[in-house]
Subunit: 253 residues, 2 copies
């Protein structure tokens, strides 16, 4: 229990832990899922890349600390997006310097700027997740960063979390700025899952799920790539948060 009985006294027998939060912050950049990493200057793992994070302060819970770190590291004050707890990583040797327990979180947002200016982390940048975590048949890219500590495990778990949540929630909406088009929204699924959902079936599902999206009267945007093509209609997010039955990701292949 969280409350020791008398036979166990914290001060006498049990050494203290440091408690931190680590963040896997995702966005979509150039049609690919991207994650924010910071370059480590000091040992251990100097020169490696790490998930942003920091200590939980005495008056904070883990989620509050995660929000604070998110603002500090991205330099974005009004963060329009989603943040949730992932899980806690507590292997005794995960940090060689001291006993650190880390409550990992996942965050998503559209259009986050390149970090740096005014932000806490000088050497921070976005990485395509596929370059950081090579898939099964994939080769690691030439510039593939080395991840510090157990952050490769955390990032793998975080990616699986968002892949799963795209299926049964409207989470993808947190990756697009309003107003958005259905092709834009579909590109989110494509980037996160690594394979595009069928066009027609995707529209049927999104438009057929009550409260997923709401059509707007906004003027149509110019076509994206400068090239021709029919302009897409614009939508805003609806009030629904769950998608049931879920939209299943396409089978492997």
């Amino acid at each position: 229990m969280s409350t020791p009985e008398n036979r166990r006294t914290y001060t006498s027998e049990h050494p203290p832990f440091a408690v931190t939060v680590d963040l896997a912050v995702f966005t979509i950049r150039d049609g690919a899922l991207a994650v924010l990493l910071v370059e480590r200057g000091a040992e251990p793992y100097a020169g490696s890349w790490a998930l942003p994070g920091g200590f939980v302060e005495p008056d904070e819970d883990a989620e509050t600390a995660a929000w604070r770190e998110l603002r500090e590291e991205t330099g974005v004050d009004r963060f329009e997006g989603h943040l949730e707890q992932l899980r806690t990583y507590s292997a005794p040797d995960r940090d060689p310097r001291m006993r650190v327990v880390s409550v990992a979180h996942v965050a998503f947002a559209p259009d986050l700027p390149e970090p740096s200016a005014g932000s806490d982390a000088a050497g921070a940048r976005w990485w395509a997740v596929d370059d950081v975590l090579p898939g099964q048949a994939d080769q690691a890219g030439p510039d593939a960063p080395v991840l510090a500590f157990d952050h490769a495990e955390i990032l793998t778990d975080a990616r699986e979390r968002i892949r799963a949540k795209l299926e049964y929630t409207t989470l993808a909406l947190d990756f697009v700025a309003e107003p958005f088009t259905l092709p834009e929204l579909r590109r989110v699924y494509t980037a996160v899952w690594g394979t595009p959902p069928d066009l027609g079936n995707f529209r049927r599902k999104v438009l057929g799920t009550d409260g997923f999206v709401v059509a707007t009267d906004d003027p149509r945007p110019g076509s994206p790539g400068g090239a021709g093509g029919r302009p897409a209609l614009l939508y805003r997010r609806g009030t629904a948060t769950e998608v049931q039955p879920p939209m299943l990701r396409p089978a492997l292949g």
Copy 2:
């Protein structure tokens, strides 16, 4: 990140935390979902009931600590069941005595004995979850225990976790002892969801999902209640761990 840069030094600026594990241990008793609680002898919350748990030791990760506490509290050495991390609870005031961060876990097992003998927790017993967490229209039972700390929240989250996992995993198998009958297995779903899945559809799903269960040649058991009725066939667990597409819980009502 889990690794402070120089500007932040653990020893000088950041007070230590105590790290504990709390366990929501579930079983099925008398056809109802039951959870193990321990009665608190000391303040705070003396006389209230709490989830079992304890400190994480210096050489353990949270999961190891949870397994150890599970054995200590239940008095069961060879625990046949499942244990997984739920989430971490870290509100600054969740324990009035000190700053405690708790990594909550969920465990399930069939046939756990009434605790006590040889176990760590003298005042431990099983409670029907419905008596501890009254549903929406439900009244709290007359003997409803008061839960200490934030344990009502943890228990609510834990129950929702297992309700969800019954849908897309073969987790229900961890609640029955082998060999088991399909009516027994169905009673697990009924107890956890609070409403029985349709008989025919349930059998179609379980028998139609490759590797969910394996038929045995074992002799049929006598009927359960002493009353008549056709004896059920016996099965053992298969190798499958996921159920896809999932078995959905019946709609509310």
